[in-house]
């Protein structure tokens, strides 16, 4: 721990980071207080619905952060990052499924409901061990990590880049979606995993658990931010940027580009998996729809709107776009896709650096716009 301290201090020297972490800490502390301590009738009361919604946004923000790490700093446009998110989510979902035990509709002590429904006699081998929390947590990291490693190793070694890479990442998540839709796969098919009861013995419906999950999500986001910040500020990060801007030149200078890419891709996939694992207990369901290509591509727009290559921009983008989505799909459902489509076009044509870039250009002195955006999204 003694060696990380100076690194941590160094990271906090950056004013934007300091401000971002301050806002995040405030959010993580104030929102649960407003939910638990302020009485329900008060204007300052944050309902449990809003709390869960914000918790969901925090998970999305972590996901956006993981995408920004590879896209913003290494130029890898992954259109399949939702796959890693969903894998992490499924690992968590499998643990939660095993926790239901005899409280399921069919009351089977071992088998989840959908397996009883399919007339399965025993648990498939890949479900073994998921009754242990530690094992599930290891799988949250390993499942996306190993997939990213194998996929990345194959792709980067043969120098699949640019649009080709984007297309095959999309094919990857599409293939996984088809696979998870099959009942025979043993992941609940169409309906996915749901009806969760408790996590480590804590009731998922209780306000205390929800507040804790919210706080943990914020904590995970903060830690992931520091990790990404550390990675990108280091010498390693400079090589990543070099790969992004001129891959061949970097290779000619003697760097093993594929290893750099592979490493950052795996880190990013693991972060996405953690985001998925935090997401599932808060929304209470994971199904194959999370693998759908459109979900993955939506993540890209969060990052693009916020501003790629800034890390906190991705977080802001995730909050803004998702808040807009929550608002518009409820108020003007027909308008949402026009707006989302428009965001893609506008952000690529006119906002190549996203909102962060815009605010820097409009008001060079004021760089606090990002903070306000987070506050707005949080209300």
């Amino acid at each position: 721990m003694t060696t990380t301290k100076p690194v941590l201090l160094k990271l906090l020297e950056d004013p934007a980071s300091r401000r971002f972490l301050a806002v995040l800490t405030a959010l993580a502390l104030i929102v649960p207080c407003l939910n638990l301590l302020v009485p329900e009738g008060s204007v300052f009361h944050v309902s449990t619905y809003t709390l869960t919604l914000l918790g969901k946004y925090l998970c999305y923000a972590l996901l956006a952060l993981s995408v920004d790490l590879i896209w913003g700093y290494c130029g890898i446009l992954s259109l399949g990052h939702g796959a890693f998110f969903a894998l992490g989510g499924y690992a968590m979902g499998m643990y939660l499924m095993r926790q239901i035990g005899e409280r399921g509709v069919y009351g089977d002590p071992i088998l989840p409901d959908f397996m009883v429904f399919l007339n399965w006699q025993e648990l498939p081998w890949f479900w073994l061990g998921f009754d242990q929390f530690w094992f599930a947590m290891v799988m949250v990291i390993l499942a996306p990590g190993i997939l990213a490693f194998v996929f990345g190793w194959l792709a980067f070694r043969s120098r699949v880049t640019g649009v080709y890479l984007s297309i095959i990442t999309q094919a990857l998540t599409f293939a996984l979606m088809l696979a998870f839709f099959r009942n025979e796969m043993g992941f609940g098919g169409n309906n996915g995993l749901t009806d969760f009861k408790d996590l480590l013995g804590f009731d998922l419906q209780s306000d205390a658990t929800r507040n804790s999950l919210f706080f943990i999500s914020a904590l995970a986001l903060g830690l992931a931010y520091l990790l990404c910040q550390w990675l990108t500020r280091s010498k390693f990060g400079r090589v990543l940027v070099a790969v992004r801007d001129a891959e061949s030149r970097t290779r000619f200078m003697g760097y093993r580009v594929e290893y750099y890419k592979l490493f950052v891709f795996v880190v990013s996939a693991v972060l996405a998996g953690i985001a998925g694992a935090l997401y599932v207990p808060q929304v209470g369901i994971i199904n194959p729809g999370e693998f759908s290509p459109i979900n993955s591509i939506e993540i890209i727009v969060w990052v693009a709107i916020g501003g790629r290559g800034t890390l906190y921009g991705a977080v802001i983008g995730a909050f803004i776009v998702n808040y807009a989505k929550t608002y518009f799909t409820a108020a003007f459902p027909d308008l949402w896709l026009f707006l989302l489509g428009g965001l893609f076009v506008v952000s690529t044509l006119y906002l190549p650096k996203g909102i962060i870039g815009l605010s820097r250009r409009l008001v060079p002195a004021l760089s606090g716009t990002g903070k306000q955006a987070v506050k707005e999204a949080g209300q």
Partner: protein
Amino acid sequence: MPLLAADPESAAGTDGLRASLEAMAKASFSEKSALIAGIAGSGDDRARVILEALLDGNLQYRKEDLRPVYLDENEEGDFLVDALTGENLGAISSKRKVKKITINNQLRGELKLAIAGFKLSQADAGARAEAARSIINGPEPELLPLVADAIDVETEPDVRELLGYARASIIVANRIGDADQLIAALSLLGEATDRNVISLVSRFLLKDEEGNYLEKDPRLVEVAEASLNELKAKQSFYQILQNVFFGVSLGSVLLLTAVGLAITFGVMGVINMAHGEMIMIGAYTTYTVQLLMPNLIGASILVAVPMAFLASGAMGILIERLVIRHLYGRPLETLLATFGISLILQQLVRSIYSPLNRSVITPDWMSGSLAINGMFSLTYNRLYIVIFSLLVLLALMLLLKKTHFGLQMRAVTLNRSMASSMGIRTGWIDALTFGLGSGIAGVAGVALSQLTNVGPNLGQAYIIDSFMVVVFGGVGNLFGTLFAAMSLGIANKFAEPFAGAVLAKILILVFIILFIQKYPRGLFAIKGRFVED
């Protein structure tokens, strides 16, 4: 409701038939039997339709004057049609004014026989063959003398052969005659090519619980076994042919959807994520054209092809001029922007046409199937799509190789800056190329509208497959696209029986991911020296 193809001019002969039918209204079952025999023997060409309607229970009579009629309905309510002339007799207030001519099981058998007799004596050889096939599929013992008579007078060797199988089927199915007759019939059936024959023959090979044949005569078992093996071999051969055909038809669809993508990617180096929506626009154009010309469904498809090309092409040029033009050299941004456009187009279609699926009517000349034999048939819509996609590919090749525009396009594909310095207006070429690629996608939409329902997500279902074709085949080479589309289509159809449709698709995707390890630029990449960055 069978509508009568009668022409009211020929009143001659109608009278006898009309009298018989009017008599039938009040007749007893035994009297009806005699009347049916009379109608069947009358040689009247309307008799068959009447008998079929009688068999199906559609033939009614008007209570006031016993006139034989069909009951039909339109949006204004029920109305009557004269069964013999097809004349509209006007609306009726209540269905009670008509009554069905009832039949019993015995009459039903007689009717079937009479109808089969009519079918076997039709003038058209194809129709007679069809009748013989239907007897193979429903070998009822009463038909035997009919078939035997038909064989004697049949002049077409092919139909005669089929009738021979029909007779053998009846003999085998009902165990008519002695063992020698059965053996002859069984061994003849080995040469037949109908699915039903397999089950007929294998009935002789059923075993009891101890594994002994139920059939006591060992000679019959032996012949049946030999015939069955022959039939099974033929069946698996035709199964492979069928799979190839399905694969080729799927490949043609992939070819149509992917070829436009390959062109735009080849020339401009950008992936058009809105390509699927160009397909969708083409499909909706087909739907709209059909709405505009409801009485000419057969011709509407032919009108829809150029319309879809223009609609999607114009949309493509619009997108290129408004958005993509500003993003050159930034392929990833182009990908995102076009994805945004695809969302907008989908929602636009949802707002205009409603989110529900619309079905496009398949014209008569595209429905049905071409039966090569009882085990192998080609559905017309797929057959036409195969032909159509090859025509589109041919037209595209001519455009690329023989026209000035094609020459310029190929020049831009190979070396943009060099082409530009030779005086080619690359901006225009880009716009036209994008329009061309999108237009072909629109044409693909017309073809797809014949296979599936038209909905806002139509394009999405095919877009990833199209990408796979482009990645597999490489860009800038139409043969590469053709090869990739066909091989992926066929591979998909062959993997399906072993792995199921979904798993087959997954396997193909995994294969492609592994494939581009070896050929990162596709199978037919343009040779040359390229330096990125």
